[in-house]
Amino acid sequence: MKQRPSGGAAGREENRPLSLYLHIPFCLRKCRYCDFLSAPAAEETREAYTAALCRELDLAAADLTRSRGGIPKVDTVFFGGGTPSLLTAAQIDRLLDSIRSSFRLQEAAEITLEANPGTLGTGRSGSDMLCLDTLRELRAAGINRISLGVQSFRDEELSLLGRIHTAEEALRSCRAVQEAGFENWSLDLMSGLPGQTLSHWEESLRTAAALEPPHLSAYSLIIEEGTPFASMKLPPLPSEEEDRAMVRETAAILASCGLRRYEISNYARPGYESRHNSGYWTGHDYLGLGIGASSYVDGTRFRNITDLGRYIKLLSGKGEGETRAETGCGTGISTGSDTGNRNTLPDDLREDVQILSDRDRMEEFMFLGLRMTGGISGEEFGRRFGVSLDSVYGGILRRQLATGLLRRTGDRYALTEEGMDVSNVLMAEYLF
């Protein structure tokens, strides 16, 4: 990275808590709709990647410790993918150890692992499902929240999506998560699938609701260019009206098990909202590690390179000449004391570095904040930017209030349910 995070406008507090996102770019097989950065990989690659991630954690922590003048506090950790549950519990354990030794991981930190029903405990033939033992090991390692990529409880839909599990396996995985003692867990479902009807969607939702999860993400399918879905002949997509009805049903059915919508596609029992994801919408600092991971630290956005081979090479510790082969990690190398200049992040690791202007940050404050049902606070806006919300966005806010798509409660503005349906149109207006 060329620019060192300066602290700048956003850096009022020297040691604001940080979220960590660790990208695990592996999966057993690519799903047909997926355009995330992930691919099947050999066990040795996963091992080398784990080592590289540990190294990046150490170096990034050292870097931040220098620039902030103290070891950063970490309040959430998220293992995302890909399919993070493809790593072994031991590998996860090493990564968490690395975090603990390089950062100040808060006692109450939320530590989430995304898991794919049918992957936990893989590698061993015959036990393709989420294995109770593995889940217990993960819990012991420190994972305290599991996010299950169920997507659907209908086999027909699962096979169309190219998922590797059946509805029955998904169900058993959910129960295993609960049985392993995770009281904070979530599952993902997808609406807007080709050929999906309202009653199909209700079926998946009701199955989910019966499990009484404390959190559920209801995403809707976006057919992305370059994915098999984009070129496949598919059954017709639900109409706009059906799609809207699905969203309405989601809220109704989930309300029955105590979940309320707190973001466009997220529902939770009060107190179980994802703290990590909420951070993305509220301008919380986060450091992304691993290939393609995005970061927002001290007013600067950047992204890691996406080339797996290069990433591993850059962080192998053997980059230039003789270096200590520091591939095994969690061995507690000293990060605080700046002894050797090899202890710095490779220059070419990060790209797309963008120092946000006040205007950028205002835009984001609005279009991210309005994703949440709680919306944004005018007072908070004033505190962050030193100008009143009204002086910047007064006209747009009043216009949107008049349409009934935005509502105001005290100093907070939030999209109404109808507003959320067309949020892209509304949010685009906050761009300068």
């Binding site: 995403y219 809707s220 466009i264 596609s265 349409t403 349906d421 949020s423 685009a428 761009l431």
Partner: protein
């Protein structure tokens, strides 16, 4: 001297090879080497070269050593080939003594061939034909030769068979110019009498006036007067036309073609068609045929960004320096804000101006649907010319209305006579007659309201004849007509920029199709948008653009905020193409596209 001058032009249907022949003649006479030849030397506007058409007339003097050993001065005056510029063509022809008629050996005579020949003959020009494109496999020179004799009635037996593209037969053409076009007459001692056939604005020299000297002489320092405009000026420079350049000389005398400058700042002081004479010793009477070029088609032009209004005005003023036929005056639209009502000679002229404004002046424009000039006779006995439908007086104050009618000639192969007649019928055409040129081709004569042909008639003609029909028209006169104003209401509000005048009989149908068209053009908004067509306050058609119900990003992008922002930026970018009218976003093209209603094929 005079007997060694030839003033001539080339006339042809579009694409029959006029400009290419001109290029070859310039090349052959040795003033330009092949290397210097940029294709189509005479067409020096980018747009002309791009579209392969001649918009402004140009002239060039060639020096040709003929087979008789004599050196001749050949003044080639290039004429525009489009019906929009008929008046300019007419003035260019008036500067000539003869014309070369180019006919395509594969296509034979076309509508504009006839129109141009008739115009040349009207100007008493000696016309001789050449048959071009004989190198093409489908060439049928003998048939075309016969056609020229039969249809036009000029002798074509020794018409040179040429290929301008391949450079075949160019010498024959040059020799024919010498032998078949008369040398100019005129008295060099008489008072100056010169025809302005074109002009050009130059920011250093002022207006450069292109003239053909009928009598007398013009030289530096002379006080001249434009007889129609009365403008008087002192001649600063006289000269003749080299290829792509002006070559000053001492004087021009009777029979010659050249230019003069006189520090004239306004092109309207030296109008095409006017007669130049000596102020102190004027000629007895002006040359006949002068008329002011009248705009036939009007539309509203508005800057997409209202802050660019002064830029648009500056650009129009600059274009007008070179184009006296471009008319504009400020107007205001409730929907579009401040802009200009602009008048053009025709649709091509309009298109050319719009493109130049967008390209050369980098302006983003909204143009309203083009319309013609209606004559409104009011009950108080006065008459007004209506160029903007929004200005139509209250119907109770209108005695009657008149619309312009054109005489049209459509040349078509017989198999398409049916569809073309149907098209003319649909466009309120009055059938005049059919004339068979040969067994498979005929000329259809119609009188059509100009209003019905200005927009998409030409496209419709081409598509219904698979490209075979050709078309020419002439303004005939004005006729009383049952006309009404159609108002378009978007979200219950009338949008003045979408109003148009339509014949009462076709109003219902037009209104319905207009609403359907707008329904397709206007994207869905956050609320239902009714679109209504109304005549005299009565709604005759209605459509609804249904409310947008869903546009949301319910996908997990995690921390990749940039990707989210890019999507929103794209959305915002789309909005820039929109004009907000009331609280509805209407795409800028919609104001123009609404007239494109012909979808019958």
């Amino acid at each position: 001297m005079q007997e060694r001058i030839r003033n001539f032009c080339i006339v042809a249907h579009i694409d029959h090879g006029k400009s290419t022949l001109a290029d070859r003649m310039i090349e052959r006479t040795g003033l330009l080497t092949s290397r210097e030849m940029q294709s189509q030397v005479l067409d020096n506007m980018d747009l002309e070269r791009e579209r392969g058409i001649t918009i402004k007339s140009q002239a060039v003097r060639l020096i040709y050593k003929a087979r008789d050993g004599q050196e001749y001065f050949l003044n080639l005056i290039d004429t525009p080939g489009h019906v929009d510029f008929n008046y300019e063509v007419s003035r260019s022809l008036a500067a000539c003594d003869g014309a070369i008629l180019v006919v395509d050996a594969t296509q034979g005579i076309q509508a504009q061939t006839l129109a141009n020949v008739y115009m040349a003959l009207e100007h008493d020009l000696d016309v001789f034909p050449v048959i071009n494109k004989i190198d093409l496999p489908s060439a049928r020179p003998e048939e075309v030769r016969q056609e020229i004799e039969d249809v036009i009635g000029i002798e074509a037996e020794d018409a040179p068979l040429i290929s301008a593209k391949q450079g075949i037969g160019i010498d024959e053409v040059l020799e024919a110019v010498i032998s078949r076009i008369p040398a100019p007459d005129g008295d060099p001692e008489a008072p100056l009498k010169a025809l302005i056939f074109d002009s050009l604005y130059d920011s250093y020299k002022g207006v450069i006036v292109f003239i053909r000297i009928r009598d007398g002489q013009i030289r530096r320092g002379m006080q001249v007067r434009m007889m129609a405009t009365g403008a008087v000026a002192e001649v600063v420079e006289v000269g003749y036309f080299g290829p792509g350049q002006f070559i000053p000389c001492e004087e021009l005398s009777a029979g010659m073609v050249g230019y003069f400058t006189a520090s004239i700042k306004n092109i309207r002081d030296a109008r095409v068609g006017d007669t130049v004479t000596e102020n102190q010793r004027p000629c007895a009477e002006a040359l006949p045929g002068y008329k002011k070029a009248q705009p036939m088609v009007y539309c509203g032009l508005y800057p997409a960004d209202s802050a660019k209004y002064p830029d648009l005005r500056d650009a129009l003023e600059k274009l007008q320096l070179n184009d006296a036929s471009l008319f504009f005056e400020p107007e205001t639209s409730l929907a579009l804000g401040f802009g200009f009502r602009c008048g053009f000679l025709g649709l091509l002229h309009m298109e050319v101006i719009l493109q130049r404004l967008e390209r050369e002046y980098d302006l983003d424009l909204i143009s309203t649907a083009p319309g013609v000039v209606y004559k409104i006779y009011k009950t108080d006995g006065t008459m007004m010319e209506l160029t903007n439908p929004s200005n139509l007086p209250d119907p109770s104050n209108i005695e009657h209305m008149e619309e312009p009618i054109v005489s049209a000639e459509i040349m078509v192969t017989t198999e398409f006579i049916g569809p073309i007649m149907q098209l003319c019928q649909e466009r309120r055409g009055r059938y005049i007659g059919t004339e068979y040129i040969e067994q498979t081709r005929a000329i259809l004569r119609y009188e059509l309201p100009l209003n019905e042909i200005i927009y998409d008639f030409f496209d419709a003609l081409k598509s219904r004849s698979r490209g075979y029909a050709s078309f020419d028209y002439d303004l005939k006169d004005y006729e009383t007509s049952q006309l009404v104003k159609m108002d378009i209401l978007v979200n219950k509000e009338p949008v003045d920029a979408l109003s148009f005048i339509v014949h009462a009989a076709g109003a219902y149908d037009r209104g319905r199709r207009m609403c359907e068209k707008l329904k397709d053009e206007i994207p869905r908004q956050l609320f239902d948008v009714p679109i209504q067509a109304a005549v005299g306050g009565r709604v005759i058609a209605r459509e609804t653009v249904r409310q947008l119900r869903k546009d949301v990003l319910a996908k997990c992008y995690g921390g990749d905020i940039s990707r989210k922002k890019k999507l929103l930026e794209k959305q915002k970018e789309g909005k820039k193409r929109m004009q907000i009218v009331g609280n509805v976003e209407i795409p800028k093209e919609a104001f123009m596209n609404v007239l494109k209603l012909d979808s019958s094929d």
